[in-house]
């Protein structure tokens, strides 16, 4: 089976055939200058990438600001026309569809945006925001529509009586729930989640993340989950794609991407992610990248990562890196990386955050699902474990989720 079977974060969901097939996708933006607005260059926001998203899976897409994640997400549902390449949804080439056909297809794919403050029209009530897509797609009318809106609000954990309120009356987390309800209104199969929790407060992020996981389970949804937070992506994804400067540099299940990455950039990115555990932070081996991300209008020749690549330096600056753009190639089962020296990268242990084994928080009740009494018991045994282990705890103690 797929990653879901090996990764305990996700109970075995059904992951099927390819739902979305992206082939050699390019999205370039012209740079216009002078009084005649002549094209003087191109921002190669997405530059020849191929991947597939399987039915029922969540594909995480990570990378630094400006690397092309949102542009990819939009092109995949044809909110943005590609410069070249094809996107097939359930076998249909989205570029070939007529307007009417595309509109019909849109029912099957939706998007949730990053900023819950600007993505909802402030002058519309929550009721009309959510019923708008129902109207567009002639899905429910009159009483049925009102009922459906109430149902959707309840589904995302909001009070169904709030239909007459305006977005500003809601907190960021609640607004993001409204955005989710709007996306779900047309019963889509596929949702692009473009940084859906980045703008939210820490304690609210987990709430919205749980909601997305619940809905995924309930409706068998397929997600393209875009985020820059690698910890969140590990939590929610069946497979993870890493982008750098318009290119896909690595693609594979979380176990590969996080524990045995084959691209030096992935390793550097992982190194940079802080872990909320002082001991783990002190233990880690990091590589700190120098310099900034180059401009996608003028990407470096050869491998786009070479001016910042630590492996390139370590290998004595091989010419190949400067002259040949590495293809995304298979380096292990279901695991692809775009590096001429992926085998070397795989050998390293840079960036990998070794699985925490001593994370019992003594003095803290550990069990979330059981009632208070059980929490006391868990606490007592955690404290005992802490004593036994002279403060280090043990991996098998009740810190594990119940």
């Amino acid at each position: 089976m797929t990653a879901a079977a090996t990764d305990p974060a996700t109970p075995a969901r059904q992951i099927g055939e390819t739902l979305i097939d992206v082939d050699r996708l390019k999205v370039h933006f012209p740079i216009l200058s002078g009084i005649f607005q002549r094209e003087s260059g191109r921002v190669r926001a997405v530059d020849d990438i191929s991947f597939e998203i399987r039915k029922g899976e969540t594909l995480g897409l990570v990378g630094e600001s400006g690397c092309g994640k949102s542009t990819t997400g939009r092109a995949v549902i044809r909110l943005r026309n590609p410069t070249a390449g094809t996107v097939r949804f359930d076998g249909h080439d989205l570029m070939d569809l007529s307007r009417g056909e595309l509109r019909k297809m849109r029912r099957r794919m939706q998007i949730i945006f990053q900023d819950p403050y600007s993505s909802l029209n402030p002058r519309m009530t929550v009721g009309s925001i959510i019923s708008e897509p129902l109207e567009t797609h002639d899905l429910a009318a009159g009483k049925a529509r009102i009922e459906r809106v109430r149902e959707l609000l309840a589904l995302v954990g909001l009070n169904p009586n709030y239909t007459d309120r305006y977005p500003h009356e809601f907190s960021g987390g609640q607004r993001q729930r409204i955005g989710v309800a709007r996306a779900l209104a047309v019963e889509p199969e596929f949702i692009v989640c473009d940084e859906p929790i980045s703008a939210l407060d820490v304690s609210i992020q987990a709430q919205v993340l749980n909601l997305l996981v619940e809905l995924r389970e309930k409706f068998g949804l397929t997600y393209l989950f875009i985020a820059h937070d690698l910890s969140v992506v590990r939590h929610i994804s069946d497979r993870v794609a890493v982008m750098y400067l318009g290119k896909l540099v690595e693609l594979g299940p979380p176990s590969a991407i996080y524990d045995a990455p084959g691209h030096p950039y992935t390793r550097a990115l992982l190194s940079a992610v802080p872990i909320p555990d002082p001991k783990a932070e002190r233990r880690r081996k990091r590589v700190i990248l120098t310099g900034d991300v180059p401009s996608p209008a003028n990407p470096p020749d050869g491998c786009r990562f070479h001016p910042r690549c630590w492996l390139y330096e370590r290998l004595g600056r091989p010419e190949q890196c400067r002259t040949e753009d590495p293809e995304l190639r298979t380096v292990a089962t279901d695991h692809r990386a775009a590096c001429h020296f992926a085998e070397e990268a795989l050998q390293s242990d840079i960036g990998v955050a070794h699985m925490a084994t001593d994370k019992v928080r003594h003095g803290t009740p550990q069990s979330a699902t059981a009632g208070l009494a059980a929490e006391h018991a868990a606490e007592a045994s955690a404290a005992a474990a802490a004593l036994d282990d002279s403060g280090t705890g043990s991996p098998n103690e009740p810190s594990a989720e119940v």
């Binding site: 709430q207 996981v213 802080p274 555990d277 002190r282 081996k285 070479h306 370590r314 699985m355």
Partner: protein, 372 residues
Amino acid sequence: MSVSDDPSRVAGGPALTDLPDDVSVATEEGRRLAEQLADNRRHARKLLEVRNLSTHFYTRDGVVHAVDDVSFELDYGETLGIVGESGCGKSVTALSLTRLIASPPGKIVSGQIIFDGIDVLKLSNEEMRLLRGKKIGFIFQDPMTSLNPTLTIGYQIAESAKTHLGLSRKAADDRAVELLSKVGIPRSRERMGDYPHQFSGGMRQRVMIAIALACDPMLLLADEPTTALDVTIQAQILELIRSLSDEFGTAVILITHDLGIAAGMCHRINVMYAGRIVETGLVDDIYEAPRMPYAWGLLDSLPRLDEVKGARLRTIEGMPPDLIDPTSECRFAVRCKYVHDRCRSEEPELTPRDGEGHMARCFGTEPEGWIQ
């Protein structure tokens, strides 16, 4: 492209080009520093003592108790983290320390701030300006808003060195060049004439750090210094702050909502919630044995890079309260799973727990409490 000519190659500066062969593991250094600090703590006085500080904002909707009876201390050379969700009073704490609260609507309504033996709230405005410039450096979240877009980078750094250290123009310029290379800007002399918009976000933040360091401050106040930056650039900036603090013995107050950053950077942590410090202690105690349900709730809700959690994350239900006219109950009571009647009728004090300087504000985890 030839690598050695590429400016971005060296942008990290010498201290930051750690290659995998000589990886920087903070363990030994961290431990040594911690010991040295413990030693200082026994002998020397504090760099900063904040006692019962309260700062309010008088708004149309009512009085916002942004910082409410906050007390803490900072040792020379120590890095203190102030963590919490947005709106809990982190920035207002920092602004109060330096008397930069916009007034009206804001006002420091009570408390005492002793910085290096000086009673800050008793200073005249002029004396305060001098203290800020000479002894305290700032780094804010958005470097663009804190740099003057119409002045060159070099001028802005030199100006700070000139006014606060009384250097000549020439000496101040030299100092600016030195500082720019110190913070990892390549070809620093050439870049003195550049304007802020010619720099990337990460480089602008480096410039801010250079300005903050221009006068050899004893304290660096960094308010979400990397929130606007990408993770790889964030790692560069944090490494820079860490190495500068080690090298010059500068104390740092690092304000962040990111518990990961605080874990890697700080010796001690103050956890804030709704204008209050709800837990404080050495970093290891806070992360391993938190004694306040909000603190461990936050830690438990975070997905971690080194951990595969169950499909459902634990959450803290509800939202942080607004800070207008707070009631006399535990401020976390409405969201707390362990709430008892007592929590609703009075507010707990910060009281000691196991571990050096470890204190928490929770009836449940007090010695006779119900969460043991």
